[in-house]
């Protein structure tokens, strides 16, 4: 089936197999490899992208379902060598170790901050419940978000993350 999809602001028109996932389409057909395949069944969140502005697991979306849709991936975050504010906060707070979860984690945080400019620790934790990180223990990720939103020094901020 022929689909037209806008990814990170660029429009792509491609012929795609109807059983192809959006994740495989992005990675293998378009070469957009920020989103990763971890579990392939919606548990680990490494494949998280925006579909029409909402964070979804792209391993559980068919590419044909994205016909006419807007998709945003971590590649759309940086402008050339300039990282986005979320990415900078991750870097500053050592919220990245191996980096496999980071492209999905950044997209989940991005949706959280769009709807909630100053989330609490519990709200941050809930927003990334669907993103598994096996390196950082999550504390630095929560700290990165608190740092970014100016809540790092508040009670419950850095130093208080359980």
């Amino acid at each position: 089936m022929r689909i037209l999809v806008k990814v990170n602001g660029d429009t792509y028109e491609r012929e795609v197999a109807e059983n192809r996932t959006l994740l495989r389409f992005l990675r293998e057909d378009l070469g957009i490899t920020g989103p990763k395949e971890g579990c392939g069944m919606g548990e680990c969140g490494a494949c998280t992208v925006f579909l029409n502005g909402r964070a979804v697991n792209s391993c559980m979306v068919l590419a044909v379902e994205a016909d006419g849709a807007t998709v945003d991936t971590v590649e759309g975050e940086s402008k050339g060598p300039e990282l986005s504010e979320i990415q900078k906060a991750f870097e500053r707070n050592h919220a990245v170790q191996c980096g496999f979860c980071t492209p999905g984690m950044v997209m989940s945080v991005k949706e959280l901050l769009r709807d909630n400019a100053k989330p609490s620790v519990d709200e941050i934790k809930e927003a990334v419940e669907g993103n598994f990180c096996r390196c950082t223990g999550y504390a630095q990720i929560v700290e990165a978000v608190l740092d970014l939103t100016g809540r790092a020094s508040e009670k419950g901020g850095i130093g208080h993350v359980e």
């Binding site: 069944m41 559980m60 379902e65």
Partner: protein
């Protein structure tokens, strides 16, 4: 690589019903159950019929009948609906317990009940709130109350050639308060070990329990002030949990009793 299938996104109900008659046709809403099951080889559809292009399938609105929503309404659509949050907090409490944020952005209430898992988190709310399904076939539409909806594990009482077009949560249940306790190992994607919802409306109490029997369980006819042990016994009498990879039958029974008593002592 997923099993090979064709995809169709019909724009009218008659077209959708025609497609569903085809050999190996399966319905796609959020895809969060269907696609992992296709990947694991549990389902081998020949045709995947996407319900999301049907007009109004993503509509959620409160009207004279109550809260109505179509088969493409996601769990987060429910949580974002002011009417749902203000008038049906018990529905939102249950919906919020299901999986992760990304899954809730895709998974639908209709998909969750059509999957008919005993561990459905949306079913307890729909049961306690007296919700009903509007089911359409080529010969017309019929109403199927959720206390008659589930036939067994992964089985509904929809017949071949029917699809769930709309859910109605009655206006008479608006304002009822509820609390859902779900036992799970981790937050996020975990399936429940057991889940107990208590709903309170004008002094009447009802309970619904997930992961406790071949279908979600509904227990009605209790009043506020009931002795906790009596309520726990009555709820447990309606349950018949099994031992599986997630927990033993005995642990489930024990925790159902704990949750019923806790809900009664702490209130909604």
């Amino acid at each position: 690589m997923l099993h090979d299938f064709r995809y169709a996104a019909p724009r009218t109900a008659p077209e959708l019903l025609d497609l569903l008659e085809g050999e190996g046709a399966m319905m796609l809403a959020g895809g969060t159950d269907l696609l992992p099951n296709v990947r694991n080889g549990v389902f081998k559809p020949r045709l995947v019929v996407d319900v999301k292009k049907l007009p109004d399938s993503d509509r959620i609105a409160f009207g004279a009948e109550g809260l109505e929503f179509g088969p493409a309404v996601t769990l987060n659509d429910v949580l974002r609906s002011k009417d749902a949050r203000e008038k049906y907090p018990a529905l939102c409490a249950c919906v919020h317990e299901l999986a992760s944020h990304q899954v809730r952005n895709r998974a639908t209430v209709v998909g969750n009940v059509m999957n008919a898992s005993p561990c459905s988190d949306t079913a307890p709310a729909l049961l306690c709130l007296g919700a009903r399904a509007i089911v359409r076939s080529k010969t017309g539409a019929r109403e199927l109350p959720f206390d008659h909806f589930f036939a067994g594990p992964k089985k509904t009482r929809l017949e071949k050639g029917e699809f769930l077009e709309k859910v109605i949560v009655p206006a008479s249940s608006a304002g009822a308060k509820g609390r859902y306790l779900k036992l799970k190992r981790i937050n996020g994607h975990d399936l429940g070990i057991v889940g107990v919802l208590m709903l309170e409306k004008d002094g009447a109490l009802s309970f619904a329990v997930s992961s406790a029997a071949p279908t979600p369980v509904l227990v009605t006819g209790l009043r506020k002030g009931v002795a906790p042990d009596e309520a726990a016994a009555k709820v447990l009498a309606a349950c018949s949990p099994i031992t599986d990879v997630r927990a033993t039958k005995e642990y489930r029974e024990f925790m159902i009793g704990v949750y019923v008593r806790r809900l009664l002592s702490e209130g909604v």
